[in-house]
């Protein structure tokens, strides 16, 4: 590969100025675990790598009902954070099952998002938690729902002069449960055949007041199965509801066949795993009156 230039900027402003001037020719480098491969395969041929590691984008803080994670937060940092473990267990589980320790020490939350891989493991839980992301440019910041970020494999709405700086996770309402499931071909170092995250929130009367079902590797982008969610919202949970939602979620997918699995298998597994995740969350919410 032709070697680009490299700069470790000292401020975000400096990076934004570079991006304003050079656009896509300047590429932000974070964990680089994917960037290096894509540069070698010439998918990307940036002229300049902009490293923001001196800019403190690797902080985690809790702010007025939301958790803010810098884009440079590594997966290992998330795993080591006690608050996140309690508040966003599905995200932590996704990190735990991600690659292996040496990669988790490098790979960043921001990188997993900006890559825009349909199979990105961290995106379904983030979307299930209604994550917002902060995109900065020299013109200012915009905050956007993560669900609106992806447009296709490797494609996003991020402009050439923008940098992803932060991920904001609103705290789940009380009486919520969340779950993450990854179906891989081995227990570590696996790319997901299907991954998914769900969140269920119960209202005052015990009915589902809100639901998220987010699927990875099931469509060109991480996918919210909104029709399946709608089948749950406003209803009391039952085995029948769960089964129907699982079937519906599977219908919403449009997966591909690749070296890991066939389209048909991915569709079937979506149904199986959505059902399992819903049942597990229901258990977490203190399901009563159900006989296993």
């Amino acid at each position: 590969m032709n070697s680009p230039q490299y700069i470790a900027v000292e401020s975000l402003g400096e990076a934004l100025k570079i991006k304003q001037e050079q656009g896509a020719h300047a590429r932000v480098i974070a964990g680089a675990t994917d960037l290096i491969l894509r540069m070698r395969d010439r998918v990307f041929s940036p002229k300049l790598l902009v490293d923001l590691r001196q800019v403190s984008l690797d902080t985690i803080s809790c702010h007025a009902g939301e958790m803010r994670l810098g884009a440079y937060v590594t997966l290992s940092q998330i795993l080591a954070d006690d608050e996140i473990t309690v508040l966003f267990p599905a995200l932590v589980e996704a990190c735990r099952q991600f690659a292996g320790p040496p990669i988790r020490n490098l790979a960043t939350l921001g990188g997993n998002i900006v890559n825009a891989s349909p199979a990105a493991d961290l995106v379904p839980p983030l979307m299930a938690y209604d994550a917002n992301i902060v995109l900065a440019s020299s013109a200012g910041e915009r905050v956007l729902a993560l669900a609106e970020f992806f447009t296709g494999p490797g494609q996003t709405v991020m402009q050439a002069d923008e940098i992803l700086t932060q991920i904001r996770l609103p705290l789940m309402p009380p009486d919520s449960a969340s779950w993450f499931i990854k179906l891989g071909q081995r227990r570590s170092m696996a790319i997901s055949i299907i991954n998914l995250s769900i969140r269920l929130t119960l209202g005052a009367k015990g009915a589902v007041s809100d639901a998220r079902i987010v699927l990875g590797a099931a469509a060109p982008t991480p996918l919210r199965a909104v029709a399946a969610e709608a089948l749950l919202i406003g209803k009391e949970l039952s085995d029948q509801q769960v089964d129907q939602a699982a079937v519906e979620a599977s219908r919403e997918t449009s997966p591909i066949t690749d070296v890991r699995a066939s389209r048909n298998y991915r569709e079937r597994m979506t149904q199986v795993l959505v059902r399992r995740a819903l049942l597990a969350s229901w258990d977490d919410l203190g399901r009563s009156g159900r006989n296993e």
């Binding site: 179906l183 081995r186 227990r187 570590s188 699995a261 597994m269």
Partner: protein, 755 residues
């Protein structure tokens, strides 16, 4: 015989300290002054005619020292494992994704890459032939013009299969399919070559057969073999995949052309696209038995996809046929072996050499048969198993066969086979647990009629230290340790007094390839013979000096023993005395794997006569909703004859099982129209540490005195062979559905559950 202080003991490998400190040098670590980087240019097409090949621009790039094509090869433009049909550099046609068309050597990797890009090749893309069943039809387009696509077709018959089938009570008949499998040795293939002022070409080669490498390099350079020296540095695994030559010949050609040292190392993707794979096979098998469960006949027809070139195909299929009867008494057997040329990946040696595919077939057949008969899988195997004295369908008489049934019984005991139904069979609604066994035999050694020998050179110095010069390649399996142990044992030395270098054709005689589980037997015995010669000199001197007859003397822990009592004289004293008196303390020996004179004439070509026996039982948990299979537990009982190097023996067994689990469940090269789609360690899915089951290993010691040193047998291949069928039979036990295709990945298991 006294309890040994080295043989059978857990000792560190010579060189272990170099490995744990990072000092051990593998091919990529070799640095020579002025060394260039070598690279190969491959065709992007799996089948194409080369209309024009222009390397002139590449040659003009500053820093490029050599660019060679087929026209620049001074000698033969072919590999030579058995048949010289694979070119080193393609001449007028490329026939698979790994055919190289040019090689370059440049000052650094970047310049070499630029040179590759500057080579202009004009291809006329041809339609390839990818389905062996189509390719073998008369009139099919020929993969190699002028040659039949049917590379090999041979039938071997023993007894009267037709009559046996007609009289059988029970018959099972199935078609099995196996996949392309990848060795994935962690160190990719590499070679470093240098031409010195006298014209001697020295090649450091990551290989299994240094003398065969030397022959191939010499014939391609057009030099006498005496002008070529091959050294194996540390080797990062091989498993059969470095038995056949790879880039070491190209490295030598480039160094010869550039007159500067060249290092050529394959990248991971390049490695996976180019070297031989385990043969994918389609096997149709019919097994017949009487109603009391006795085997009456086996008929098998195998069609193997060879890829465009022979490589080790003939030999692998020969072994497939030799072992298709399993470790059983099969009175009537017929096996037809067909290999077909295609434009798919090339195929050849991989640990087990045809026996893993055969075992998947015969051990699956045994369980299907047992189910049909309502017999226990253990019972039907014990009923039909070979014993000492059994004559196999090949004509070979098993000389030491106790381990067949002993391994079955031991494995059953270890996993509590009889009590397995007391275990939870369905720990949750969607989970099913099951147990399955497989037992195998596999020859150790190349087989009768083949030159199966090894030489070695030992020299003791006047201080009592010993050097062993051997050309047996150690790829991690531990042959170096074993040789050092045997020499130390015979000469009464501490292991630290024995120095053994990596294989070097300039220092040691031919030891043949490190393959076929043979080195422990041939090089091990050669070391014993040479060590005994030196030992005899030492003891003769001692006998003369202290006036005691030689048969009362022994050497141990660096001391002379007289009637078992420690004497003042040390081995060092004796060595010093020998030196002063002018007695030679060096010995060269050669051991040829001898097949017993009283053995009957062997009907099957190149049959092995020394056998590894191995039984494995797997306990699996199947997720019936996802099809995923978890191997929870596995017991492996293996007969090593006699354990010399336990670290190596246990390591080989664990490694074989791990590779067997991958072969069973997840490993498969996805090849579409000749192109491999998953040529990476990310997408070719090999189980890792967390996927590994609880593994319980037991090693039986039933010495094969006619074969290896002190009764030891090779153990390298046996352990990978029963794993896949054991898991298959465990899945069958769990879900009640048989699988006939490898790997048994989640989708295939799910398809079996929901046909």
């Amino acid at each position: 015989m006294h309890e040994s202080s080295v043989v059978g003991q857990w000792v560190s490998a010579p060189g272990a300290e170099d490995i744990v400190t990072g000092k051990a040098r593998y091919c990529p670590d070799i640095q020579l002054p002025g060394m260039l980087t070598g690279k190969l240019l491959y065709s992007p097409h799996v089948r194409a005619r080369i209309k024009n090949l222009d390397v002139s621009k590449a040659k003009d790039i500053p820093g490029v020292y050599a660019v060679i094509t087929h026209a620049d090869i001074p000698g033969e433009n072919s590999y030579l494992y058995a048949y010289p049909d694979q070119p080193l550099l393609a001449v007028d046609e490329v026939r698979f994704q790994g055919d190289a068309v040019a090689a370059v050597a440049a000052v650094d990797e970047k310049t070499a890459d630029a040179a590759l890009e500057a080579i202009a090749v004009d291809y006329e893309v041809l339609s390839g032939i990818f389905d062996p069943l189509e390719a073998m039809k008369p009139g099919a387009d020929q993969v190699v013009a002028g040659q039949s696509n049917v590379m090999m077709q041979m039938t071997y018959t023993s007894g009267d299969v037709e009559a046996a089938l007609a009289s059988a009570d029970v018959i099972v008949e199935n078609t099995y399919r196996t996949q392309w499998a990848e060795h994935a040795f962690l160190e990719t293939e590499g070679g470093v070559a240098r031409v010195d002022d006298e014209g001697v070409v020295t090649v450091w080669s990551s290989c299994q057969a240094p003398h065969r490498d030397r022959m191939q390099i010499a014939r391609s350079l057009g030099l006498a073999e005496s002008m070529v020296r091959v050294i194996t540095p540390y080797i990062g695994g091989a498993f059969g995949g470095k038995d056949e030559a790879h880039v070491q010949i190209h490295a030598a050609l480039l160094a010869y052309a550039a007159r500067r040292p060249v290092r050529l190392i394959r990248g991971r993707r390049e490695s996976m696209l180019t070297h031989v794979k385990r043969h994918p096979m389609i096997v149709h098998c019919t097994t017949a038995a009487s109603k009391d469960g006795r085997l009456l006949a086996v008929r098998a027809r195998v069609i193997a996809d060879a890829g465009p070139y022979s490589n080790a195909t003939h030999e692998v299929l020969n072994k497939f046929g030799e072992f298709i009867g399993g470790p059983y008494k099969v009175p009537n057997l017929e096996v037809e072996k067909i290999a077909v040329r295609t434009n798919n990946p090339i195929t050849g040696a991989f640990r087990g050499f045809g026996a893993p595919q055969a075992a998947f077939v015969y051990e699956s057949q045994m369980d299907d048969l047992a189910r049909k008969l309502g017999m226990d899988p253990l019972e039907i195997r014990l009923l039909n198993g070979v014993e000492t004295g059994t004559q196999l369908f090949t004509g070979v008489v098993v000389r030491e066969g106790r381990a067949m049934k002993a391994s079955l019984r031991k494995a059953a005991e270890m996993i509590a086979w009889e009590k397995r139904d007391q275990c939870e069979r369905s720990p949750a609604g969607h989970l099913r647990r099951g147990w399955g066994m497989a037992t195998i035999l596999k020859g150790a050694g190349l087989g009768r009629g083949l030159a199966d020998h090894a030489g070695v050179l030992l020299e003791m110095h006047r201080d009592g230290s010993l050097v062993i010069n051997s050309a047996a390649a150690d790829m991690g399996q531990g042959i170096i340790t074993l040789m050092a142990q045997l020499a130390a044992e015979r000469l009464g030395l501490d292991l630290s007094c024995v120095r053994i270098d990596r294989a070097d054709t300039a220092k040691a005689p031919d030891a043949g390839a490190s393959c076929a589980s043979r080195q422990a037997m041939v090089s091990g015995n050669a070391v014993l013979i040479a060590a005994d010669e030196i030992r005899d000199t030492l003891l003769s001197l001692a006998a003369r000096k202290i006036k005691v007859s030689k048969d009362r003397l022994d050497l141990r822990n660096g001391r002379l023993l007289v009637d078992g009592e420690i004497h003042d004289l040390t081995v060092q004293n004796l060595a010093e005395r020998a030196s002063v008196w002018g007695y030679p303390l060096h010995a060269q020996s050669r051991y040829h794997l001898e097949y017993p004179d009283d053995a009957p004439e062997v009907a099957y070509r190149f049959s092995s006569e020394f056998f590894q026996f191995c039984t494995q039982i797997a306990q699996v948990l199947v997720d019936c909703e996802t099809g995923q299979v978890k191997v929870e537990k596995l017991v492996a009982v293996h007969d090593a004859g006699k354990i010399i190097n336990p670290g190596g023996v246990y390591g080989q067994i664990e490694g074989g099982v791990a590779q067997g689990i991958g072969y069973a469940l997840s490993e498969e090269l996805v090849v579409v129209e000749g192109h491999t789609l998953n040529a990476s360690l990310e997408n070719y899915v090999i189980p890792m540490a967390l996927d590994f089951p609880e593994l319980d290993i037991h090693v039986l010691e039933m010495p094969e005195l006619a074969g290896g040193p002190l009764g030891a047998k090779g153990v390298a291949e046996g352990p990978i062979i029963p794993t896949a069928p054991a898991i298959r039979n465990a899945i069958l036990d769990a879900i009640g559905k048989p699988l006939y295709q490898l790997p048994m990945n989640a989708e295939r298991v799910l398809a079996a559950l929901n046909p």
